[in-house]
Symmetry: C3
Subunit: 155 residues, 3 copies
């Protein structure tokens, strides 16, 4: 395995920054939010090395990383999850909030509600094809809140 | 997207705290452990901004975030995972530890063995409906160990 | 729940270290990379308490934690994911990069592209049976890049 340092080890004070981001209501499906996150957090640019932690405060939606280019990837993700976690599953008992509710809870645990993204040289270190995706699993999920926590050392 | 800071950026020393938590044996299923985690870690209250990382040291159980209120959500999660990752899957070869073992390994990778939860103002920033859940996938899993790592800046 | 501190809380400067690791091309399947990661990051040994964050910069492979001993677990993981996310799924529209491409994207979101592993006393705190696994979902995935970010306090 080849390895090369982006930076040698640094012993230093850390920067901590915490922010609540509110995403507008989106239709059910997989939505790219990379540009929105970066625009809301100019503090990313102040970090030499660090981590951005994003936490969605909900149990019927999720955060995931996937392709940022061809929208057909997001369409097929939505289709696969709908076929795999079916709304009419006969053994579901948690049904009083609508047929899309229990599937939304299961999808949320499958995808998770958080991502932690490395920062180096003032930028998120996403791969060329990686985007941050909000997976909205409810038909009418409404606004969604994300807590963004930044931690790192100064440039 | 609306954004407002919980705190402006802070440049400071960090607090590090590491602890091993042992959960008593639980029956197979999804179990809320939020209150146990908070009670075991009074140091959360000392942090202005920070992160709590929980790591389950096992490969046949998992940690996930889901609804903390109606227990039918946890019942349906257990049912869905049992239907989707079946014990009698004919092509499984790793069967000598019991029919619940290989499904437990698969569920563990699907849910993951870790969560990182944001802290602000001395409290975990879980959403209103979010709880920390131990997903026990073995019929007789026994005690489970979690490593809790706290990192943040002082209040 | 029993709890005992590995270390009492420490208020201190933090170490930050960032590195890009390149994994050689692997065949499709689940591959243990624990020893490669540890060998590439001797800085782990300098930390009293900390976290190692690993980020795979790709959307058609993943990182997961699972059993490090019996290789039949990894064989069955690969078989289950192939049966559950089928290459010939008729409703897939993202098919021009090959029949293994869209399933690879879905598996990547199911497993995730990151892990954060606790460090104490200079060592990764993996459980006895836990290993770090690269899940290669493409038939010809080629080299894969991981960004390793270390953060912690000095021993």
């Amino acid at each position: 395995m080849k390895a090369w340092p982006i930076w040698k080890s640094v012993l230093t004070n850390s920067i901590w920054h915490s922010e609540t981001l509110t995403l507008p209501a989106q239709r059910r499906g997989f939505h790219l939010i990379t540009d929105d996150i970066i625009a809301a957090l100019p503090q990313i640019n102040t970090l030499k090395v660090g981590l951005l932690h994003l936490w969605l405060k909900h149990t019927s939606a999720g955060l995931t990383i996937n392709e940022n280019a061809d929208p057909s990837v997001r369409t097929d993700l939505e289709a696969w999850f709908n076929h795999t976690v079916k709304e009419d599953t006969p053994y579901f008992t948690h049904t009083f909030e609508g047929s899309d509710d229990m599937p939304a809870h299961i999808k949320s645990s499958l995808l998770g509600c958080e991502v932690t993204i490395p920062i180096a040289d003032g930028k998120l270190q996403l791969g060329t094809w990686q985007g941050i995706i909000l997976a909205e699993h409810r038909d009418n999920g409404g606004e969604r809140s994300i807590i963004a926590t930044l931690n790192g050392c100064q440039r």
